[in-house]
Structures are given as structure tokens and as C-alpha cells.
């Protein structure tokens, strides 16, 4: 009952935030015009262009990416039974960065359809390589903590390779890569947003089919096995799913940190449950909300410049993670 009220208010808040996101930016557009735009009424031509070509795509990108990254984070936290698991912690984002670095620094360009395509390809390949290595390790070793640490090490390795590549390239080549690394919801075209939407829908459907394994994983893999879950198979599907989802989102919006790590924790704290009946929709909604909020803040409404998205998500995410950790039983157990 209580969670229904929270879900209801969350949906309303997301709608309000969506309108705010359309209204605010370097040029602010009055709310009546925004509402007119949504209902398809005629508005000033300059406003229409801004809303249609910049703010609407950007809002949609923020919502889809935030939901997707949070879902990834939730799945990884359940699988690894660890509140510190997340796409960036497991080295998946770093794998994407390495793939993108190889493409960009080897002379590929960020602009043009061919350029974007190869960047996406690089990011997905990078993420998939890390994910497949993690899957192989998780098949070989039972202990999930060990797999988590292996993922972190793969992340460090990828980052090291990225800095070596960066060291040997000139500033011309480096600039688009550094820009990509800041993270941004602003640069997606009319093909990429439907792609993102499609991937997210697939991911949600697969996640719903994982409903039982995910819940049964909460008391541990041995327990899941004893109530009839095929542990190995579920584990591989979860890892592949999160790898693909994170890889594609990272390719499009850059390695956006902290959303995947912090949002599922906020959800568990707000709803006071770890059951996936609540945490799956909760993470999708909260992820969309928080990503959009971070994006609006990063625009610094009224100014011509914007902050790097990654700085804003970290400013939100790091305190949340700290707060949740200090409150959680996890710490009490480690310290006792």
C-alpha cells in the first residue's frame, strides 16, 4: 500500500521533472509554451526548434539511460550480493572506454554516421570483452566476491591501456575522447534514441523472465539451487544482459558513473525491501528521475555552458553510497 503511494508520487514527480527539463536550459521557455508543444499546438518557431531538436531528445536520452544503468546496477548487486557492485565497478564501463579509445585514437572520428557507428561498435566490443572474461571467471570459480574483484582488476587494466593510448596520441585526437568521457545526454540522433528504447525494452523483458532467479539469489546461490533455480545459467544471462545494456548506453552517452551504483541503493532504502517485485520497477523509475535531475542541474539553466555530466552524477552518487553504506548491515558486519 505504502509502496503504491511512493510509486504514484514518483511517476508524477518524473512527469513534472520532464516538463521542467523541457522548459529549462540556456534559453528558458515559458511553461505554457511547453504544455502547448506537448499537446501539439502551435508555438513560436524558435521555441519549437529548441524543444524538438534539443531538449526533447535530451530528456528522453536521460530517462532511458538512467533507467537502463540503474537496472544494470540492480542486477549486478543482486548477482554479486554486494551493494558496491555496479557497471562501473565491474570494469564494464572501463571496457567500453577502452573500445572507444581504440576507435577514436586510431583515427576514427566522433562525427558523421560512420564515426558514430564505429564508436558504438568499439564501446560494445569493449564492454562485451570484459563481460565475457567475467563470465568465464565466474564459470571457473564459485565465489562471487572473487569474480567482483576480478572485474575491478579488469577495469584497472582497461584504464591503464586507455592512458597508454592517450599518452601516444596528439591533442587533436584526444579532444573528442575526453569529451565523450565527461558523459552527456545531449548528442543522440533520431536513430540512436529508438535504438536505446528498443534495447531497454528487451532488457526489461529479459529481467522479468529472471524474476524468480533474482529473488532466489538474495539468500545466496546455494539457496537458489536448493529451490530449483539453474544457478549457472541464470548467472550467465544476468552478466550478458548487463554487459550489453551498459555497453550500448555507455557508447551513446559516455561512461556515466554512479547512477547504476547509487540508484538501486536509494530504491532499497526508500521501499525498505530487496524483493524484485519492487526493486525492478523502482530502479527503472528512480533511475530515470535521477538521471534527468542530474542532467537539468548540469545544464545550469540560464547559462550558455554546462557542467560535465559525470561530475554532477558523482556529486549526487558518492554521498548516497556513503550514506547507505554507513547505515547498512553490510558495514556493521564487516566492522564487527
Amino acid at each position: 500500500m505504502k509502496s503504491k503511494i511512493i510509486f504514484g508520487s514518483l511517476i508524477i514527480a518524473l512527469a513534472v521533472l520532464f516538463l521542467t527539463g523541457l522548459a529549462l536550459g540556456s534559453v528558458s521557455i515559458p511553461l505554457p509554451s511547453v504544455v502547448d508543444y506537448i499537446f501539439g499546438n502551435e508555438i513560436a518557431h524558435s521555441h519549437y526548434a529548441i524543444l524538438n531538436q534539443i531538449r526533447l531528445p535530451r530528456n528522453l536520452t536521460a530517462i532511458l539511460s538512467g533507467a537502463g544503468l540503474s537496472l544494470s546496477g540492480l542486477l549486478l548487486q543482486t548477482l554479486f550480493r554486494n551493494p558496491l557492485a555496479g557497471p562501473s565497478v565491474l570494469g564494464i564501463s572501463s571496457g567500453s572506454s577502452l573500445g572507444v579509445a581504440v576507435v577514436l585514437l586510431a583515427g576514427g572520428s566522433m562525427t558523421g554516421i560512420a564515426g558514430t557507428g564505429s564508436v558504438v561498435f568499439g564501446a560494445i566490443i569493449g564492454a562485451l570483452i570484459v563481460v565475457l572474461l567475467i563470465s568465464a571467471i565466474s564459470l571457473k570459480f564459485e565465489d562471487v566476491t572473487l569474480v567482483l574483484i576480478a572485474g575491478m582488476m579488469l577495469g584497472f587494466l582497461s584504464s591503464a591501456l586507455v592512458s597508454i593510448l592517450a599518452f601516444f596520441s596528439n591533442s587533436e585526437q584526444l579532444k573528442p575522447f575526453v569529451h565523450w568521457g565527461f558523459g552527456s545526454f545531449a548528442r543522440l540522433n533520431e536513430y540512436q534514441i529508438p535504438t536505446l528504447f528498443f534495447i531497454l525494452v528487451i532488457a526489461v523483458i529479459v529481467t522479468l523472465f529472471l524474476y524468480k532467479p533474482l529473488n532466489a539469489f538474495l539468500p545466496g546461490e546455494q539457496f537458489a539451487g536448493s529451490v530449483g533455480i539453474n544457478v549457472q545459467k541464470s548467472r550467465i544471462i544476468i552478466i550478458l544482459l548487463t554487459g550489453l545494456l551498459t555497453g550500448i548506453i555507455t557508447a551513446f552517452v559516455g561512461p556515466v558513473g554512479f547512477i547504476g551504483l547509487a540508484v538501486p541503493q536509494v530504491v532499497k532504502m526508500v521501499f525498505k525491501t530487496n524483493h524484485h517485485r519492487v526493486t525492478i520497477p523502482g530502479s527503472l523509475l528512480f533511475g530515470a528521475f535521477i538521471a534527468l535531475a542530474c542532467d537539468i542541474i548540469s545544464r545550469i539553466p540560464g547559462q550558455d555552458y554546462s557542467l560535465p555530466l559525470n561530475a554532477v552524477t558523482a556529486l549526487f552518487g558518492a554521498p548516497v553510497v556513503l550514506f547507505v553504506l554507513f547505515k547498512s548491515r553490510f558495514v556493521k558486519k564487516v566492522l564487527s
Binding site: R81, L208, F209, Y211, K212, N215, A216, L218, P219, G220, Q222, F223, G225, S226, V227, G228, I229, N230, V231, K268, K272, T273, N274, H275, R329, K333
Partner: protein
Amino acid sequence: MTALLNIQDLAIGYNKNDLKHALTKGFTTSVFPGERIAIMGLNGCGKSTLLRSITGILPLLNGSIQINDKEIGQLTRRERAQIMATVFTSYNDPGQLTVNEMVTFGRYPYTNRFNKLSERDLLLIENTLEVAKIGHLRNRIVGELSDGERQKVMMAVAIAQDTPLLILDEPASHLDIRNKALMMNLIKNLGEEQQKTILFSTHDVGLTLKIASRVWLFHNKRINDYKIDEFKQGEHWKLMLEGLDADVVF
């Protein structure tokens, strides 16, 4: 009566292809519905290994274990979970799950992908909460329960699975005197009234004498198989004290 479990020339241990270091070998027996078998022996003798082998978690070194005439290795996880329920001592904090949600996991081997519960499922869960005497805890968070309460909840999950075979690793180890009595009654009733077969490991001779109908005693890398009366009269448990003064214990 047909046997539920047929064990043939079984050898168990942790090193594959290393029969020489097997914990025990050449064990052959049959287990029938309603039997309550206590598995006893010193630390490290292979009690847990035997239980893990029977549940199919651990590959056998030699021999075969058949349940209802099917090799355990051939069963899918789901089929296996419909035939046997297990409660192990190792336990992970499931985080914020209620007792009710936890016990519902016991119906997972029977429900569809989205865990749609039938009338019968709901009834069984309700009965289980009552039988395990944890109805008053149903909305509590599992991670916040005491060790004893938690152990009853894990037992309830196994009961909700409604399987002909229950495998319990030290079922009374964390329990106070009251909960221990409750657990003993529960195990005894499951065997006597519902004809369920229960294999449990324990160090507690008193518990064994009260509720077991049969004892498998590990001794010198062999499993000695006793009816409970033989075990009582022969004081076979004293085998475990070999070379020690039994008076020290009592």
C-alpha cells in the same frame, strides 16, 4: 514398500579421481519413506560431504545415488527441488525480505516464471508458517531475526517445498532448549505422520536418540548403519570417543 533412495557402492570426497583419499567408500543401502536417519561422526569425517553428495551439489567419486529409481545427476534442478528440500548451516543474509516472502521461495519449484501462486500454494505457505510456529514473524525482516528464529524460517522454506525427502545439516545447532524441542517434534511428525524421509547430520546424541529411527555413524572411513534400538543398546556412539575417557563427557 518401495525404497525412496537407493545408494550403490558409494564413494565420496572432494578430490576427483582420487579414490584413495575418499572420505568413505563402498557404501550401499536403501532408504524408505518415513525414515529419520541421523548422520553422526567426528568433525571432518564426511557428514556434510555425504549430504552435499546426496543433494547433487558434489559429484560422486564412485557408485550411484538413485531417488525414485532416477539417478540424481540426471534430474533437472527443478525436478530435484520437487523431490528434496535442503537446509544447510551456511547462511547468507538475504537483506530486506520478510519471513513470508522467504517461505514463499519454497513454492518456486512448482510455480511459473513469474511465481504465480495457486490456492494450494497459498494454503501450503499458510500451513507451513503455522507448523513451524513462525506465523507471528511473517512480516518481520529475515535479516533482523535471531539465529534461532532464522533457523526455523529456513526449515519452513524446506517444509513449504513439500518434498518426500528433507536433508538437514545440523538442524538444531543454534537453537535454545525450547526451539530445540519444537524442532525435534517437527522432524518427528514430518516422518511419522507425513511419511517424509529425513536425513540430518548432528553431533547431538540426545537429539539422535529422541527422533532418529536409524543412524549412519562414520567411523574409520566406514559408514556403520544401525537401527535406533541397536544404536541405543550397543552404545555405539562411544565409538566416537575411542581412546578417550567417556566419563570426561558426562
